[in-house]
C-alpha cells in the first residue's frame, strides 16, 4: 500500500530523513517510533505530499506522491502534528469545509460529519467555536477531519497528544477498530501506545531507519530468550533504549540490525 524507497529529505545542510526505505501492506497498522527530531513528522509530510522529497520515491496505492499528488491525496487522511483547525469556525462548519475539499458527494456530507464526529467523540462541541475548545478537543477535531470520507490510508502524527488518559484509550480503540480496513501509520513517543495498537514498529533515529519489524520479531531479535506478553510493556522501553539511546550516531549505525530493516 505504501512503498517508501531511499527517501531522503534535506533542509539546507541538515539531513532530516536519510535514505529511508520501508513497505507497508494493506490493512497494517504501523507505529512510527523515534526521539524528538528523528524525522517522523518530516517523513509523514513527504508521504502526504505536503513537502517534496530531496531524493527517493514514495508510492501510495501505486501512485507516486510527487507525480500524481491528487490521486495520493484522495486516498490519504492526514492528521498533522498541529491540528489544522480554524479558530473562528465551528467544528461542524470546519468538517463541512474539509468534506468539500475532499469532494465528498453533497448527499453524503451530513451523514459523514455525524459519523466522524461520533468516532472522534466531538458531538457535544460540534457547534461551539473552535478557538474556545481545549487542546484535547482540537486534537479530536483534527482526527475527525482525517477520518472524513473514510480514506484507505490514515497518517496520524501523534494522535493522542493532549488527550486525557480516558480519551487516549478511546483513540487507541478507534485505531484498532480501523485496522484491517485501513492502512494506518501513526507516530508517537508513547511506547505503550505502540504495543497496544500497532502490529509493526518502525524505529527511526536521526533520520535513519534503525529497525522495522513486528513486536514479536523485535522481542526475538533484541531480547532473545525473554518471555514477554503484550501487557508487559516494559520490554518495549528496553528495546527502544537499545535502539536509539546511544546518542552517538556511530553506535546506532553499528547495531547489527540497522541494515536488516531495509524491507
Amino acid at each position: 500500500m505504501i512503498e517508501v524507497t531511499h527517501l531522503t529529505k534535506r533542509f539546507r545542510d541538515r539531513v532530516a530523513v536519510d535514505d529511508l526505505s520501508f513497505t507497508v501492506e494493506k490493512g497494517e497498522v504501523i507505529g512510527f517510533l523515534g526521539p524528538n527530531g528523528a524525522g517522523k513528522s518530516t517523513t509523514m509530510r513527504v508521504l502526504t505530499g505536503f513537502i517534496p522529497a530531496s531524493a527517493g520515491t514514495v508510492r501510495v496505492a501505486g501512485f507516486d506522491v510527487f507525480e500524481e499528488p491528487l490521486e495520493v491525496k484522495r486516498r490519504v487522511g492526514y492528521l498533522p502534528e498541529h491540528p489544522p483547525v480554524y479558530p473562528d469556525m465551528t467544528p461542524r462548519a470546519y468538517l463541512a469545509f474539509c468534506a468539500g475539499l475532499k469532494r465528498l458527494a453533497r448527499s453524503r456530507v451530513k451523514g459523514e460529519i455525524e459519523r466522524v464526529a461520533h468516532l472522534a467523540g466531538i458531538e457535544n462541541v460540534i457547534d461551539r467555536v473552535t478557538g474556545t475548545l481545549s487542546k484535547g478537543y482540537l486534537q479530536r477535531v483534527g482526527l475527525a477531519q482525517a477520518l472524513l470520507g473514510d480514506p484507505e490510508v490514515l497518517v496520524l502524527d501523534e494522535p493522542t497528544v493532549g488527550l486525557d488518559p480516558l480519551q487516549i484509550r478511546e483513540v487507541r480503540e478507534l485505531v484498532k477498530s480501523l485496522a484491517g480496513k485501513h492502512t494506518i501509520i501513526l507516530s508517537t513517543h508513547i511506547l505503550p501506545e505502540v504495543a497496544m495498537t500497532c502490529q509493526k514498529v518502525l524505529v527511526i533515529h536521526a533520520g535513519k531507519l534503525v529497525d522495522f519489524d513486528t513486536l514479536d520479531g523485535l522481542i526475538a531479535k533484541h531480547l532473545p530468550g525473554r518471555k514477554v506478553t503484550l501487557e508487559d510493556i516494559a520490554f518495549l522501553e528496553e528495546i527502544y533504549s537499545k535502539l536509539v539511546s546511544p546518542v552517538g550516531p556511530g553506535l546506532a549505525a553499528a547495531l547489527p540490525v540497522a541494515a536488516s530493516g531495509g524491507n
Binding site: G49, F50, I51, K73, P80, H82, L101, K102
Partner: protein, 264 residues
C-alpha cells in the same frame, strides 16, 4: 469545482464572522459619505453663486453625475487601494501561520483551485464595498432633478465608474493575494501590498514637472490614471487591459508560489 466552492464558502464564513470585512465596509461607508456630502455642498454653493446671466451657459454643461458622482467615485478609489491589502492579507498568510495550510495542501485540490477560491471570495467582499459606494448615486437620484427635468444621474456613466472601481479593486486583491502567499505574517503581507498598491496609485507624483518618456511611463503605470476614463463614462481597452493584466499576473504568481511549496 466542488472544492473551489468549499474554499469560497469557508473564506466568506471567516470574512463575515471576524470583524475585518465589517471594518473595511465601515471605512468605505464613512469616507464615501464624507465625500458625497462634500461634493453636493460644493455643487450647491457653485450653482447658487452663479449669476443668472453669465451662468446660464456654464450651468447647461454642469451636471450632477460629473460633478458629484464621478468626483465621489474618484475619491473612493484611494480607499479601495487602502482597504484591499487588509482584506487580502490573511488569505494565505494566516493559513501558514495557523498550520491549516498543511490541511489545504494535503487535500486533493490543485493549487490553482485554492487560488481561484480565495480570490473569488475576496472579490465578493469587494463587491459589497462597491455596493456601499453605489448607494450614494441611488440616493442622489431620489432627490435631484436634471437641467430640463430629466433624471439627474446618468446611469451609464455611474455604471462605468463602478466598473472601473471594481477592476481597480480586483487588481488590488490579486496583488494582495500574491503578497499574502509569500509571507506567513499577515501584518507583513498587508504592509507590503499596501506599499506596492499605494506606490502604483501615486506613481505619477514622482515625475511631476518632468516631460517625455519618463512621465509617459509613470502615467502608464499609474492605477489612478487608468481609472479616469471609467469615471468619465469611457471603457477603454488600454485601461481594461491594464487592470486585467495585474489580475492575471497576480493569480498566476500566486499559483506558482503555492506550487513552489511542493518543490521547496
Amino acid at each position: 469545482m466542488r472544492s473551489v466552492l468549499a474554499i469560497i464558502r469557508k473564506e466568506l464564513y471567516i470574512y463575515f464572522t471576524t470583524p475585518i470585512a465589517y471594518v473595511a465596509f465601515m471605512v468605505m461607508a464613512f469616507f464615501a459619505a464624507q465625500f458625497f456630502t462634500g461634493s453636493v455642498d460644493v455643487y450647491r454653493t457653485f450653482v447658487t453663486r452663479m449669476s443668472p446671466y453669465e451662468g446660464e451657459q456654464i450651468l447647461e454643461h454642469l451636471n450632477l453625475t460629473d460633478v458629484v458622482v464621478s468626483r465621489l467615485l474618484g475619491s473612493v478609489g484611494v480607499f479601495i487601494v487602502i482597504s484591499a491589502p487588509f482584506l487580502s492579507m490573511r488569505l494565505v498568510a494566516e493559513e501558514k501561520r495557523a498550520r491549516t495550510f498543511e490541511l489545504v495542501m494535503t487535500s486533493p485540490v490543485r493549487p490553482f483551485e485554492i487560488v481561484v477560491g480565495k480570490y473569488l471570495a475576496a472579490l465578493a467582499v469587494l463587491l459589497v464595498s462597491i455596493a456601499i459606494v453605489a448607494a450614494f448615486p441611488v440616493l442622489l437620484s431620489f432627490y435631484a432633478r436634471g437641467a430640463h427635468g430629466g433624471p439627474a444621474v446618468e446611469w451609464q456613466t455611474v455604471g462605468t465608474g463602478l466598473l472601473g472601481l471594481f477592476l481597480l479593486g480586483a487588481m488590488c486583491m490579486a496583488v494582495g493575494l500574491f503578497v499574502s502567499a509569500l509571507s506567513d505574517s499577515v501584518i507583513v503581507a498587508a504592509l507590503i501590498s499596501l506599499i506596492v498598491l499605494l506606490g502604483l496609485w501615486v506613481v505619477t507624483i514622482f515625475t511631476i514637472g518632468s516631460q517625455g518618456p519618463l512621465r509617459d511611463l509613470a502615467t502608464g503605470l499609474s492605477s489612478a490614471e487608468h481609472l479616469g476614463g471609467f469615471l468619465q463614462g469611457r471603457i477603454e481597452l488600454k485601461d481594461v487591459v491594464y487592470y486585467l493584466s495585474f489580475v492575471a499576473l497576480g493569480l498566476w504568481l500566486t499559483d506558482r508560489a503555492l506550487e513552489g511549496q511542493r518543490w521547496a
